[in-house]
Amino acid sequence: MSLPFHPADGDPVPPALRGFARAHADLVELHEKPAHLVARHRAPARRVGLVSGGGSGHEPLHAGFLGRGMLDAVAPGKVFASPHNKQVLEASRKAAGPAGVIHVVKNYTGDRINFGIAAERLRLEGIEVRRVLVDDDLATESDETATGRRGTGATVVVEKLLGAAADTGLGLDELAALGAEFAAASRSLAVASRAQTSMHTGRPAFDLEAGELEYGVGIHGERAQKTIDRPGTEELVDRMLDELVAGLPEGPEEVLAVVNGMGGTTLLELYGLHDLVAAGLERRGLTLAGELVGTFVPALDMAGFSLTLTWLQPEWKAWWAAPAVTPAFPRTVEEVA
């Protein structure tokens, strides 16, 4: 079984990569064996290549963010599975700039190991590597486990800010430090009203009654720690904002908000949610200094949404506004008018 419109049998990822590369042939180049994609254009001043990747099923992440102003290469794994280290290695070789490579890694054991192995191999080849770990998911904050918070919706924020920073010609250590700051300043929380379709059974990966809500869900259909009765949308957003603001470290008063669809949620809902988020932040005395609404880091076709807040340092604003010429990142303020 699989999703309704996947190939009848076989891995759905290779044909999707081909279709993607075809549709965006002006922006990206697909390499097979091992599968990786490389951006065709990069800012002349960029000295460090930016590489990301991870399991498939979260499109447009990451390949949709290949291009000037964001990523230089990506390694897509099978659905919900880490890419092989060889994919990361090849992607990194092609992406490497004179000052090296940064790996943007979502915090999952498999991703850490495979990107880590690729990093070791790159070092043996004389290519300098640093890692930026994205670990924003507040639902997995716990003192008990060593694994730390999962990496989820903030990934698009980190990739955007880091891409723009890299385009200014910053060096490897400076970018790695900045990337860590971006991630540290970000927290996300996700809810679902319907699980994604399981690739194995073709049915929802877990059951929810009508009116129930999975609160704190992950992007691979990991169930949350709690299932709650769905509150009114206004109340739900309020509760999520409360937890996010409380979960963030101290920061400036300006904040960037991402209202992200989990795959099966309409723009009509997401924009309505954004209206509530904007009002809720204002009520809390926070200034909304950047915003992104749409489906950027989904879990296949899950019905749900995540909210990400990132404290925005004054210097970061220009990076958020800088254009990103990619298949999926929307136009920014700076390139309009």
């Binding site: 190991i113 880590g116 192995i117 070791e120 191999r121 043996l124």
Partner: protein
């Protein structure tokens, strides 16, 4: 002292054939049961790659490439790091092979720990590798003994890394398959060097 890489490769490959059933069973208890396949398959491919290279690639070079590039599972590329570091170290020196091997194994351990973030006691192959690396200066036989003892000790450990960490106490009683694989490796090194 000379160091016959090819002999290590061939002996290790044979040992993995012999231990396949045992390793599979150990990984079935604690993981997903593919460790025996991963190790044996990688070694078969490494032998082929070495033979095809016709002298152009060292035995450890072949091991490193195959395990990094082709072998699945968590252990595959981690072992690949170890073999690659050893290959580099052996390449870089004409003189003391034991010392070079020791340097390579040490660098491999460091890389494995950087990547996998496991400490001694987490019930992984690090529990066999770390003491073996420490013992190499005392000779390959000492290293092989240290690896075996390390592997044996994992039987009493609860896993804190890898797939086995999900099953809690249930893994206790039998050793960690990856650690057993490392002990196998050091034994073949010692045998190939005639130190056993």
């Amino acid at each position: 002292m000379a160091f016959d890489q090819e002999a290590v490769l061939r002996r290790f490959a044979q040992a993995a054939e012999d231990a396949h059933a045992e390793l599979t069973e150990l990984d079935q208890r604690s993981g997903d049961g593919d460790f025996g396949d991963n190790l044996r398959g990688g070694l078969r491919d490494a032998v082929l790659r070495f033979e095809k290279g016709d002298g152009g690639v060292s035995a450890f070079g072949a091991l490193g490439e195959v395990f990094l590039d082709e072998v699945g599972g968590t252990s595959g590329p981690l072992l690949g790091l170890l073999f690659t570091e050893i290959a580099h170290a052996l390449d870089g020196t004409g003189t003391d092979a034991v010392a070079a091997f020791g340097e390579g194994a040490k660098a491999g351990l460091a890389a494995i720990q950087r990547v996998g973030e496991a400490q001694v006691g987490d019930r992984t192959l690090v529990d066999a590798l770390a003491p073996a690396v420490e013992a190499v200066p005392q000779g390959f036989a000492a290293a092989a003994r240290a690896a075996q003892e390390g592997a044996d000790r994992t039987a009493d450990l609860r896993a804190r890394r890898g797939r086995a960490s999900y099953v809690g106490e249930r893994v206790k009683g039998e050793p960690d398959p990856g650690a057993v694989g490392i002990a196998l490796f050091f034994r073949t090194v010692a045998e190939a060097a005639g130190q056993r």
